[in-house]
């Protein structure tokens, strides 16, 4: 059996099983654990109540991101509940000896952005965080998934989790994306194809020419949204693109240790003949800019399409849900997506706030200006990315165009901080979820790529970036 071909998921899983438990469950070792201020306070409370310590404090790193203001960072946090959550995190990490990335430091940012930024995220590791977009780190060939707070407590206390092995799905992306089409369009097209629950119970491996051609930022965008198809984790075998990205980052092994690690990482790919529970083929060459029209990410069409007509849907349950979505989104069937006026543009989130995303948005804007009546925000994924963008002069392009240039955080992706949509506002957003009220009560979200969102900001309506400028 030892010689049977295995997938990369199987290899990482096998390498982390501490003990086999009843019912096909395993005690799985967790290499890296990321903490945020929102999903951790109750875990520390649990430890305290049970008189338990943290098993390996160095296996965890903490940062506040969900709830932090993205402007006037030098002032105390105005919202009392938010301030208490951040202070609670700071107290907890101090008490339990956990490394912390301070709110007012340059390294602060969205946890899924700073992990790779710092080189915490490495191939072959198991990585968890109390946040569903932990799947992002799978872009490096790590097994990374979101967990609940009870599991956060379990990892803190034991550096392990009790898990049942998921099934394995291969999404094979054949051919390359056409010029101007991004990883965001690709993952939205994949979700549109398999549905929001299409990969529930699976770990997705993305492979094929279309994936190999992506840079690390693009791969992170793809893996990030695996959860929007129901998969707890998405992963991509590490290759030279991965190694080139990693080399030289602060927490990546250097010198000879890097070469040793790299030799070992090269074995992290699925063996020829390894079997999957499900295989999906996607033709990258046919993908166009994608825009969501409804209130979950599978409700997505190309920019050339129109809002679908529920009456034309064969399944009555789907038609009912589509009617509900259109009512919430204030859209009429048959309306072209291109030309739909927007009120707000949000460029940010763990899906699309990396330097590559900001470059794409800035290049689209050029010397254009945000349309009158449109509020537009750029929220870089980390302080380091913000500084990098400023070094490249991207901030000047955004500011001259009328964008607000903010500090790093999750911001309007989920509206826990003051960055929120008002009821009825329509937003072109580079984030990951278009759920009802996700970006603020009554807000209406259209998910798209950074270039598409930037083009929408300038045009004042949703527009095909390929015909823009």
């Amino acid at each position: 059996m030892a010689d049977a071909p295995r997938t990369i998921f199987q290899k990482i899983w096998d390498a982390h099983v501490v003990a086999t438990l009843a019912g096909g469950n395993a005690l799985l070792y967790i290499d890296r654990h990321l903490l945020n201020e929102v999903t951790s306070p109750q875990a520390f409370e649990g430890l305290r109540l049970a008189g338990r310590r943290v098993h390996r404090p160095g296996g965890t790193i903490a940062v506040a991101d969900h709830n932090v203001p993205t402007e006037n960072r030098h002032l105390p946090i105005a919202d009392a509940d938010s301030r208490i959550q951040v202070e609670t995190l700071e107290r907890n990490v101090a008490e339990f000896g956990i490394p912390y990335v301070p709110l007012r430091g340059r390294a602060q940012g969205i946890v899924h952005v700073i992990g790779p930024d710092l080189g915490l995220t490495l191939p072959g590791l198991t990585i968890v965080c109390g946040d569903s977009h932990t799947s992002t780190h799978g872009a490096f060939g790590a097994l990374a998934f979101g967990i609940g707070t009870s599991e956060v407590e379990h990892v803190l206390a034991t550096q392990t989790l009790i898990q049942k092995q998921a099934r394995n799905m291969l999404v094979r992306v054949n051919g390359r994306l056409p010029a101007g089409i991004t990883a965001k369009d690709l993952i939205l097209a994949i979700i549109g194809r398999i549905g929001t629950a299409g990969a529930t119970g699976y770990v997705i491996e993305y492979a094929g020419e279309g994936i190999e051609a992506l840079d690390m930022a693009g791969r992170m965008t793809v893996c990030n949204m695996s959860i929007e198809a129901g998969a707890r984790a998405g992963l991509i075998a590490p290759d030279d693109t991965t190694f080139a990205y990693l080399q030289g980052r602060p927490l990546v092994p250097a010198g000879e240790a890097f070469e040793t690690a790299k030799a070992s990482w090269r074995a992290l790919r699925s063996d020829p003949g390894a079997s999957y529970d499900k295989v999906i083929d996607i033709d990258a060459t046919g993908i166009a800019p994608m825009v969501t029209w409804g209130t979950n990410p599978e409700a997505v069409v190309t920019i050339a399409d129109r809002v679908p007509d529920p009456e034309a849907m064969p399944d009555s349950a789907a038609a009912g849900q589509a009617r509900q979505m259109l009512k919430y989104m204030a859209l009429e069937p048959g309306t072209p997506l291109a030309g739909l006026p927007i009120d707000v543009v949000f460029i940010g989130s763990c899906t699309n706030s990396r330097i590559e995303d900001l470059r794409a948005a800035a290049a689209t804007i050029g010397d254009g200006h945000v349309a009158s009546g449109v509020r537009a925000l750029v929220v870089p994924g980390s302080g380091a990315i913000k500084a990098q963008a400023e070094a490249e002069g991207l901030d000047l392009i955004f500011k001259a165009a009328g964008f607000e240039w903010r500090d790093a955080g999750c911001s309007m992706c989920l509206g826990m901080n003051p960055d929120r949509l008002k009821p009825g506002e329509r937003c072109a957003s580079t984030s990951n979820r278009n759920f009802e009220s996700r970006q603020g009560p009554g807000g209406r979200t259209h998910l798209m790529s950074p270039a598409m969102a930037a083009a929408a900001a300038v045009a004042g309506h949703i527009v095909d970036v390929r015909r823009f400028g």
């Binding site: 306070p41 206390a157 034991t158 092994p253 009802e436 996700r438």
Partner: protein, 192 residues
């Protein structure tokens, strides 16, 4: 955690598909450092609609929720499970659940019962007027009309729920195995 063997009572016939965790508990309620009191924000957008099932006096005191496919999709927030618990919900019945949500529910002693759509449709009908019974030991859902639906559940989870076991405590008992594993990993991956 207190052991669960049976859940019996009125059920709220929600029936909706793809109920995401932002619907179960909106983000503004996540600014808390305790597990308590989240019921006040639960299903806020649905409860804002007149005639919603949650505020229907018919279902006052209900301890079961019946939903459509993919219940609990979206974020990993365990606040969704805490909010349901705070509403007095002991079990959710649906054709499918998101993986993270069902794990969170389990860790809080809330049963997630997966049944085929036809069975869920029948229960949605019965729930309008009559109570429903869930027997974890025998893995069945029954109604006063002799309906009897068998459901599957992970044997490990069933064992933990029936006995009210604390997972962290169980794992800490494997401390020696974890230490041995860590020693081996350090040798296998010297770069870490």
């Amino acid at each position: 955690m207190k052991p669960i063997r049976e859940v019996e009572g009125r059920a709220i016939p929600l029936g909706l598909k793809n109920v995401d965790t932002d619907v179960i508990i909106p983000a503004q309620y996540l600014k808390t450092i305790t597990r308590k009191g989240l019921g006040r924000g639960a299903f806020e957008t649905i409860r804002a609609q007149p005639g919603n099932v949650f505020d229907d006096p018919e279902y006052k005191g209900a301890n079961i929720l019946i939903a459509g496919d993919n219940f609990g999709c979206g974020s990993s927030r365990e606040h969704a499970a805490w909010a349901l618990g705070d509403l007095g919900i002991d079990a959710v019945i649906a054709p499918s659940f998101s993986d993270i949500f069902s794990g969170n529910a389990f860790k809080n002693g809330i049963l997630t019962v997966v049944l085929p759509q036809e069975a869920v449709d029948r229960l949605l009908e019965v729930a309008k007027t009559h109570p429903i019974g869930i027997d974890l030991e025998n893995q069945t859902v029954t109604t006063p009309f002799q309906d009897r639906f068998r459901f599957e559940i992970d044997p490990f989870r069933k064992h933990c729920l029936l006995n009210g076991l604390d997972e962290v405590g169980m794992t800490l008992a494997q401390d020696a195995a974890i230490s041995t594993f860590e020693g081996r990993m350090a040798a296998d991956r010297p770069w870490l």
